[in-house]
């Protein structure tokens, strides 16, 4: 991957030995390379987390199965959840943010390149630490190995008394370490966006991707930090004899739940808001129209960020809060659906009256819209707390959040991959393989996660390593497992596409999609310095103004 675009004719550039190239990558502070490192490490953990999911699904294929022991199963679902949230979703989104934000604002790099590198390596170290638990987690009486307390590690299950050995400690430390990395990245993103925009790019002229990453970074500062605090408290309990969550000493298990979900709920918005960002960049380009309602999209995002900090206890509807608390969180949770819905309407409004091109990024975007709508509606169902007293802790919830994370976030990420891979590598991803990827994944996804709602309605709780026959869950679980394997196949097609296209893909050029934001004005891949001349912008779509000087956006804004 060349990072130099200027070649002076007549000169001879020596190929670097691979050790040097590796060293360059390991010591880089360039936001583009760090972005790619984030993405590659995320793909690695995606494969591992996916295998864990397949093990879960094989075990649950029929009742009273014994593919794995209950101990192994409990580790699998703990590691699957922890890996996917902290070492796949967050890094890949930070990776795209790292790559795109400086380019979209016309900057040379992030505000603090060395902090950027440090944050990435902290995050990666956290992942390694989590997986080291398989080797190093052993403790008294053979307990230990990978954590098996669920990705929330509810008190008192996470206490020394119920989790002897070090498996829980690896969970805690891995998340603490990568949490600090996330905070570093968030600070970096905010400083970059507020301080490094090119001339003319006023705050209301930034691309929506930049706006949404700004909001996301702000949320990280307020959401990840409560988890860090709770983790420190847990470590104090486990190592210094503290009683934060020690119910025998008068401590409160519910306090852990509050602290965890004050992190946990905004966290899922931290994950989805960058995906909204991708959609807000991709859907306009493939509809050939600007985003419908830019100011409303910004306002809705900020509104979501604020309201989402007030909904956390909808994860705790069953713990016995009084009716007033339950009503309050019902109201706020339903309320956060309003700005979210507005965004869906605005995306459809963008497509309306356009000339839609069904390239692979747009296919995934349409899938996102359909699935995110459904996911949001099942969320509204669970916001009605009495309904949630049945649905909570069942496979209905599992279906709901996978609908958001896989049907929403992952689909948006696939769209982002197909859209920006040409910029990052200079090659187009194969449309043919892309369509195979899309259809296979769509079928597998719906087979698994549409059906998965039903066992929940039929009383199947989550986190069970096996279940009783005769409850009507057998056939459904079998179908769900089939869908999982189809999705795995689709992911293989995707990975193959990424690799093959790198060597054989069509050359992309600067602007293969005829798009309008600043990153498409430079070469693919961009030179290491990004912009030879600092750009000056006069509207939200600087390249539209360049390509349509007779009718620039700056006339209407």
């Amino acid at each position: 991957m060349s990072s130099n675009a200027i070649t002076i004719p007549g000169t001879h550039i020596e190929a670097r030995p691979w050790v040097d190239e590796l060293h360059q990558w390991l010591t880089t502070v360039d936001h583009k390379r760090l972005g790619i490192l984030y993405i590659i490490s995320a793909l690695l953990f995606l494969a591992i987390g996916g295998v864990e999911a397949l093990i879960i699904r094989i075990q649950l294929m029929h009742s009273h199965n014994d593919f794995v022991s209950p101990e192994v199963f409990n580790r699998m679902f703990t590691m699957h959840g922890t890996t996917m949230i902290f070492f796949v979703a967050m890094p890949v989104l930070f990776g795209f943010a790292n790559y795109l934000v400086p380019l979209m604002i016309g900057a040379r790099d992030m505000a603090f390149p060395r902090l950027n590198a440090f944050s990435f390596w902290l995050s990666f170290l956290g992942g390694l630490l989590l997986y080291f638990s398989f080797l190093g987690g052993s403790g008294l009486y053979g307990a230990g190995s990978a954590p098996d307390v669920g990705w929330w590690s509810y008190a008192p299950l996470g206490a020394r008394a119920f989790s002897p050995g070090h498996s829980s400690d690896y969970w805690t430390l891995a998340l603490l370490v990568s949490g600090f990395g996330s905070i570093g990245t968030a600070i970096n993103i905010i400083a970059t966006i507020l301080c490094l925009r090119c001339p003319g790019m006023k705050i209301n002229r930034m691309p929506l991707l930049v706006w949404m990453n700004l909001v996301m970074a702000g949320m990280v500062l307020l959401a990840i930090t409560p988890l860090s605090a709770a983790q420190i408290m847990l470590l104090i309990d486990r190592y210094l004899g503290g009683h934060f969550f020690d119910t025998q000493a008068g401590g409160s298990a519910v306090l852990w739940m509050h602290f965890f979900w004050i992190f946990g709920h905004p966290e899922v918005y931290v994950l989805i808001i960058p995906c909204f960002a991708f959609m807000s960049e991709i859907i306009p380009v493939f509809s050939r129209k600007p985003i419908f309602g830019y100011p409303v999209m910004v306002a809705a995002t900020v509104c979501i960020a604020f309201v989402s900090m007030s909904v956390w206890a909808h994860h705790m509807f069953t713990i016995g809060m009084n009716s007033y608390a339950n009503s309050f969180f019902t109201l706020t949770t339903m309320a956060v659906g309003v700005p979210t819905g507005i965004k869906i309407f605005n995306w459809i409004g963008t497509m309306w009256g356009g000339r839609i091109q069904f390239k692979t990024p747009m296919l995934f975007s349409i899938g996102f819209l359909f699935q995110f709508l459904i996911a949001g509606l099942t969320g509204i169902m669970m916001a009605a707390s009495p309904f949630d007293w049945q649905l909570s802790l069942s496979y209905f919830v599992v279906a709901h959040f996978h609908y958001v994370i896989v049907g929403g976030i992952l689909f948006a990420l696939f769209a982002a991959f197909y859209y920006w891979y040409p910029k990052m590598t200079g090659r187009m991803l194969s449309e043919r393989l892309g369509k195979w990827h899309f259809w296979l994944f769509l079928i597998g996804f719906h087979l698994t996660f549409d059906v998965m709602h039903i066992p929940g309605l039929l009383g199947m709780p989550r986190r069970i390593y096996t279940y009783e026959p005769g409850r009507g869950w057998d056939t459904l679980n079998f179908i769900i497992t089939i869908g999982a394997f189809i999705q795995a196949l689709a992911i293989l097609v995707f990975l193959a596409n990424l690799i093959i296209s790198y060597f054989k893909g069509a050359r992309a050029g600067n602007d293969p999609w005829d798009a309008w934001t600043l990153e498409w004005s430079i070469s693919s891949p961009p030179p290491v310095y990004n912009f030879a001349v600092v750009p000056t912008v006069a509207s939200r779509r600087p390249l539209w103004d360049l390509k349509h000087p007779e009718d620039p956006d700056s006339r209407y804004e």
């Binding site: 209950p70 101990e71 409990n74 509810y154 008192p156 299950l157 119920f162 119910t247 025998q248 401590g251 050939r288 129209k289 600007p290 419908f292 309602g293 830019y294 100011p295 069953t318 713990i319 016995g320 009716s323 339950n326 009503s327 019902t330 109201l331 339903m334 309003v338 507005i342 459809i348 409004g349 497509m351 309306w352 000339r355 839609i356 069904f358 349409i366 819209l369 709508l373 509606l377 099942t378 509204i380 169902m381 009605a384 707390s385 009495p386 007293w389 049945q390 909570s392 802790l393 069942s394 719906h446 039903i454 009383g459 709780p461 989550r462 986190r463 069970i464 096996t466 009783e468 409850r471």
Partner: protein
């Protein structure tokens, strides 16, 4: 090429519709009762007032969200079909529309109204269920969650039992609901019998309260819903809703001390001289351990190990000899008795009717 594009996107939505129909059919099939006895665990087959209120609210919510889904989906499908790019467009861009304040207002206000309606409907049900007063004739049960079994105490009736709950059926004209106080001896658990009510957690140092008033007799199944450790999956619930005479008979039987069968002296001696007494209680004897289930009326239960196995001679024998064979990770240790002792103690257990 654009024809192909159209076909693929319309095909997709046709496929979606077919899938949706298929899954609905599946749901209907899955909802069919599996037999008269015991009942299933279907949240849409409520047998008690809280479960019924929830089911009714759920239908209301489903209808509203269903309408929203149909409307938004229709808009999406329409835009994908009507505004697809054609080969004849090449080069020309459509009208660049930036937004519309009226449309934004419309699709802000309507959702807010929907939220208000949904919230009000929900708040009513929340209060009706959570703030229901406890009538004088209510049966009181204290449920204590353990890793991985349920302890049930009836404080006013002087009964201690485990895993299988017996409650009276409630006649709507003279209700006799059961009010449960939920406690935990170790980690978090959750009491979930879908056809009798929503779930409520059992959290140490945080007592909770729930109620149910089943209006049909029968056996209702459920299980622990909050991950509590290795054998969370096998912490099953079995609620027997009895008619008034049956319930009274059950109460009388449970209130009595353990049966003293002279033929089981040898087994009882094994029980009392090994570590069994440390964890288990048999009313009327010296055994008063609280860590494990009360065994006074063990044979009145249909299952052992919190539903993990049927209460048969062989299962009982296997359980005492090596619990890991039935429920690996359970906190009952393998007693490592000799065959003779094992047979004797099983015989003793079988006298505890």
């Amino acid at each position: 090429m654009s024809m192909l594009r159209m076909k693929s996107s319309t095909l997709r939505f046709l496929a979606q519709t077919i899938l949706l129909l298929f899954w609905s059919a599946l749901a209907v099939w899955a909802n069919e009762p599996k037999g008269p006895f015991p009942h299933g665990t279907n949240i849409f087959a409520p047998a008690s007032t809280p479960a019924k209120s929830i089911a009714d609210l759920s239908v209301f919510v489903l209808v509203i969200t269903g309408i929203i889904f149909v409307v938004v989906c229709a808009l999406l499908v329409y835009s994908v079909i009507k505004f697809r790019g054609r080969a004849t467009d090449a080069g020309r861009e459509p009208a660049q529309v930036y937004g519309s304040t009226q449309i934004e207002l419309a699709w802000t206000i309507i959702p807010i109204l929907i939220v208000v309606v949904l919230f009000l409907a929900t708040a009513r049900v929340i209060h009706a269920i959570q703030d229901a007063p406890e009538p004088a004739g209510a049966v009181q049960v204290t449920a204590i969650g353990h890793q991985y079994w349920w302890e049930f105490r009836y404080p006013k009736l002087g009964i201690v039992t485990a895993n299988e709950l017996h409650i009276p059926v409630s006649d709507p004209s003279h209700p006799t609901p059961t009010f449960l106080q939920l406690l935990s001896a170790d980690t978090d658990h959750s009491f979930w019998v879908p056809e009798l009510g929503g779930k409520t957690d059992l959290i140490p140092n945080h007592p909770n309260r729930m109620w149910m008033d089943p209006q049909r007799t029968g056996v209702f199944l459920g299980q622990c819903a909050q991950y509590c450790g290795t054998q969370h999956a096998k912490m099953l619930l079995r609620v027997s809703v009895d008619g008034p005479e049956d319930f009274a008979a059950w109460v009388r039987a449970q209130q009595s001390l353990a049966v003293e069968d002279a033929g089981a002296i040898a087994g009882r001696r094994v029980f009392e001289s090994n570590a069994c007494m440390n964890c288990h209680a048999v009313a009327g004897t010296a055994a008063d351990g609280r860590f494990g289930p009360d065994l006074t009326h063990l044979m009145s239960r249909a299952t052992i190990a919190a539903g993990a196995a049927k209460n048969t001679h062989d299962n009982l024998r296997l359980w005492i000899q090596d619990p890991r064979a039935i429920k690996a990770g359970s906190l009952m240790p393998a007693m490592k008795l000799s065959d003779a002792d094992l047979d004797a103690v099983v015989s003793y257990m079988e006298t505890l009717r």
